[in-house]
Symmetry: C2
Subunit: 299 residues, 2 copies
C-alpha cells in the first residue's frame, strides 16, 4: 500500500525525449509530477503484473495524460491478461484524447537466455523480458541501449563516402551511394561497444535464469520485501525476496549497482537493514522516493 | 488529479465507533492512514459519482481494508452504475476477506424536499441524498444525527416506569411494562431537539433544491473549482462552481459553516480567493489536507 512517506514502486526512464514507465500503482502520478519531466512525452507503460499496487494508478494517470495535451498513442505492455484488466479499469477514464495500444507479452516461466525476446522501443533503445516466479504471472524487464562501434573517418574517406552520409552510417543505417555502391555500417564502424542495461525485477522469487538475464547490468533495481534473513521464509511464502537474495542476484549478474525497492509496509526504515545486502554486494542503495540517476555510456 | 501538496477531495466521518467515507479517489487511503483512526471500522463508502478522481482509489483501499483484519461487510453506496463500475475495478482486488454490499441509489434530478429519501446507517445516524447537476449522474448527500427530546424524569416517575426502562425510552424505543402498559417515548420525552447535519456537495452546479436540502446544516462541505468570479463561465461549462456560488448556497441554506473543497489543479493557492466566499458567507474555511472538526449537539 502507498504510505504517507513512501510511494509504491515504479520506474520512470527518459531516453531521447521520450519517457517509459514501469508499473503504475495508486498515487504514482504524484512522484511523476514531482520529477518535473511533465507527462506528455510518456510513450509506454510496462507492467510487471496486475496486482493492484502495480496498476491501480493507471486510470488516473491516463486522465492526467489526456489533460497534458497528449494526442499520440500510449503503449501498454504487460503479461497475459493486460487487455481484460485495462478494459476493466478504463471504465472510469473513458474518452481519452489519444489511442491506447496494448501489447500482451506471452508469459514463459524461467525463459532461457537464448529465447529472450528483444523488442525495439526507439532508436537504439529496446527491451527484453523474462518470466518471474510470483503467485500470478509476472515479468522482469531488461531495458537496453545498444551502442554501435566507433565510426572510422579514415575508412569512410578511403571508400570515398560523401560526408552527408556519414551520420546515417554512424546511426547503423545502410546507405546507397550515387555511384550505385551499397555501404553497410560494419564497413566503417569498429566493434560494437558496451551499451547501457537497466534491469527491473519485482514481485518474484529469484529464478535460475536471472543471473544470465541481468548479466552485466549497469543498474539492477530489485525488490526486497524484508530486510533481514530471518524473514526469508516469510518472504518466500509470499513469493518475494529479502535483501540478501537481491544482493546475491546483483553479485551473480555482475551488475554495477543495485537499488532495493518494494518494501513491506512493516519495514518502516529499510535503510537500517542495508548491511544484509552490502555484506554480499557493496554497491547497493536502498530506494527512496524520487531516487534518480543518469546512466551514461562507459568510454 | 492528486497533487504533491493536495489530496483528492473526500470526507471521513466517525460516529459511535463506525467510520463512513464519501468518495475515494487515487491516494485517499494515505490521508485515511494519517487520520490515525485505522481502517477496520470503515462501514460504508458513499460515492457522489464515478469520475476517476472520486473512485480510482477504491481497489487499493479494499485491499488495505482486507489487510486490516476487516471481516464484516463493507457497504458501497452510489448513483446508478455502481455495480458495473465496482465489478470492473475489483478485477485488481479479488478475494477480499469481507463481503461487499452494493446499494445503487436511483438518480432523481432536482429531487424535491418532500421526496427526499432518508436511509438509516446506525443508531440515530442516517443519510439523505439529492441529485446534482453534473455531466454524469451525481448525488449530493446529507448526513444527519437525529436527537430525541429531553427525557423528563418527573413524567417517568408519575407513570411509575421502573428505572431499568428509562434508557430504552430515552433511546427512542417503545417499552412494555410488567403490568401490561405500553409506554411510547413521546410520553416521557420533550420535543425532538436539534440534531446534527453535515452536507457534502461536489461536482455539480447549484440546483434550486439545494438551499432546502442543505437547510440549517451545521457544516456544508461544498466544491469550488475556481476562486474568482471571472472563472464562473469556465466553471459552469464544466458543471462545477466558483467560491461565491458555494457561499451563496451556504447563506441561502442558513448553514453554520462552509468548507470549500475540490479545487482545480490550476488553483494553486485557494486561500488567496477566500474573500470571494466570505463577502457572501463569513464563516467559510478553505479546505486543506486533513482539515477536521467535531460536530456536537448544540445545547
Amino acid at each position: 500500500m502507498p504510505l504517507p512517506n513512501r510511494w509504491l514502486s515504479s520506474l520512470l526512464m527518459r531516453y531521447n525525449g521520450r519517457m517509459f514507465l514501469v508499473d503504475c500503482g495508486e498515487g504514482t502520478q504524484i512522484p511523476l509530477k514531482l520529477s518535473g519531466w511533465g507527462f506528455k512525452a510518456l510513450d509506454t507503460i510496462f507492467f510487471t503484473h496486475f496486482h493492484a499496487d502495480h496498476i491501480s494508478g493507471l486510470p488516473g494517470l491516463l486522465l492526467t495524460l489526456g489533460n497534458s495535451g497528449k494526442t499520440d498513442p500510449l503503449n501498454l505492455v504487460g503479461p497475459p491478461g493486460l487487455k481484460k484488466i485495462v478494459e476493466s479499469l478504463i471504465v472510469i477514464s473513458p474518452n481519452l484524447p489519444y489511442p491506447l495500444h496494448l501489447y500482451e507479452l506471452p508469459y514463459v516461466k524461467n525463459l532461457g537466455t537464448q529465447e529472450e525476446h528483444g523488442y525495439p522501443l526507439c532508436d537504439q533503445f529496446f527491451f527484453r523480458y523474462s518470466g518471474g516466479n510470483h503467485n500470478i504471472p509476472c515479468l522482469t524487464y531488461s531495458f537496453e541501449i545498444s551502442r554501435p562501434g566507433k565510426f572510422n573517418p579514415g575508412l569512410a574517406k578511403e571508400l570515398n563516402i560523401p560526408l552527408l552520409q556519414w551520420s546515417c552510417l554512424q546511426g547503423g543505417q545502410t546507405v546507397t551511394l550515387e555511384d550505385g555502391r551499397t555501404i553497410e555500417p560494419h564497413m566503417v564502424l569498429g566493434e560494437p561497444r558496451r551499451g547501457i542495461k537497466l534491469c527491473y525485477c519485482t514481485d518474484t522469487r529469484p529464478t535460475s535464469v536471472m543471473p544470465t538475464f541481468f548479466k552485466d547490468a549497469d543498474l539492477l533495481i530489485c525488490e526486497g520485501l524484508y530486510g533481514d534473513d530471518e524473514n526469508l521464509e516469510n518472504a518466500a511464502g509470499k513469493k518475494h525476496m529479502v535483501f540478501s537474495e537481491a544482493a546475491t542476484l546483483a553479485k551473480e549478474s555482475n551488475a554495477s549497482e543495485l537499488w532495493l525497492t518494494h518494501f513491506s509496509p512493516a519495514l518502516k526504515t529499510p535503510s537500517e537493514f542495508i548491511c544484509y545486502a552490502q555484506n554480499i554486494f557493496v554497491n547497493t542503495k536502498v530506494g527512496v522516493d524520487l531516487l534518480s540517476t543518469t546512466l551514461r555510456f562507459v568510454d
